[in-house]
Amino acid sequence: MFSKKNLLIVNTSLLIASALFFASCGHGEAPKTDASTPAAVVKDTTSANEVPQTSYSLPSPLQIASIFKKSGLSFKDGLTSPVKDPARYTTNLNKSINLGVYSADLSYCVLNKQSQEAMRFMKLCRSLADNLGMGSVFDESNLSKRFEKNLGNEDSLAYIIAELQMVTDMYLDENDQQQITSIVFAGAWTESMYIGSKVYEKGKEKKLNAKLAEQMNILGSIINALKAVEKKDAAISTLVADMKSVKDIYDDLPSIKNNPDAANSDKPMSFTDEEVVTLTKKIDELRAKFINGL
């Protein structure tokens, strides 16, 4: 059936394939998730120095929105991002930042039962995720479809968003793109602070003031998390500088300067109205820069 030459090619290929297969068996223990199974032994080929001594586990945009919601943050029209065409964001940095902005808006809408707006932001998130090459996460476990089906059911939607966050984190981990997690969160945090400060301006709710102050505590972690991944994308340096410009304003507020241990205290912090205005102005500037893709 085959000539000698062809048989030689087949034999050589099978030999190579077998060698590759057996080589893989050296590492090839089946996935172990059960506590009783032994762990896999992996020979590492990377430099030991690549493991950072300190890393950061930043919260999700949904948790930030949930904290604000518990403090009385109500829904106000016109506060979410007005940008309807995500195609205007051309760099990966701007796409990631605005994926965070839209994620914060999505969470804000879901927790305030704004179903149609939530659906709109879900689509915008999907569009930016597609653009970043990670749109497939929306199809995992039928997340997009389940979101549509559960419109109007706030609790279910919140769980679906939490699940979406998990598959996104998993996707970024698997693809060694953890830097996107920090960039997205920087965008989400800024948008949440923008919404929180605007709602505070109107109602002057004490609880909301305390939550705005508390949120400032994690800005240092965001900056450090971004610095830790700076080498993966040089453009992150500009974002670090932007976030640092907000922290400089915060560190200079009298409530913080005169009480340096406030961040570690169990007692809720608060700002004076003047301080909120100062901070809000800076957050406004940064948020405008983000949503305009500058």
Partner: protein, 154 residues
């Protein structure tokens, strides 16, 4: 026609073997680790996760993860160490490793031997720092594995 069949056979065989190799070269199945942690969340909502590669060196190491927390929130932490070839000690502190005044609020030292997945419901604290104490492995300094740490809240 015979040539096409022959070449297709060769291509399929080589690609399949190569694919198997690529899939298994990285011994940590991040997805399986994450799915296992998720099951332990119960009624806590997923917040974040941190995948850490652990390289065993010729000296002890202390790796730290800073976890920002908020007043009034309840947190659950889940650590999956199923893919570690050698045990590490996981501890949770109220301050970073640079502080002399920090307090340990959890350590796996007190857990049953052989446990691979640890669940810790945190008390109300202002800050949390997760430390991985990685022992030395002088016999095989290039030994490595991974651990996934998940945070839930309610």
């Amino acid at each position: 026609m015979k040539k096409i069949v022959l070449l297709s056979l060769i291509a399929v065989t080589v690609i399949s073997a190569g694919f198997t190799t690529v899939q298994l070269m990285d011994g940590c199945d991040k997805r399986a680790l994450t799915e296992n942690c998720k099951k332990k969340l119960d009624d806590f909502k997923y917040d974040s996760q941190k995948y850490s590669k652990i390289n065993y060196l010729d000296h002890d190491q202390k790796l730290e993860i800073e976890v920002p927390v908020f007043i009034g929130e309840k947190y659950r932490m889940i650590f999956n160490t199923s893919y570690l070839p050698k045990g590490i000690v996981i501890s949770v502190y109220t301050k970073s490793k640079d502080s002399k005044k920090r307090e340990a609020i959890y350590t796996t030292k007190n857990e049953a031997e052989g446990t691979k997945v640890y669940v810790f419901d945190a008390p109300h604290v202002r800050n949390m720092y997760v430390d991985y104490d990685v022992p030395t492995d002088a016999s095989n300094p290039k030994l490595s594995g991974c651990v996934v740490f998940m945070v839930g809240y309610k």
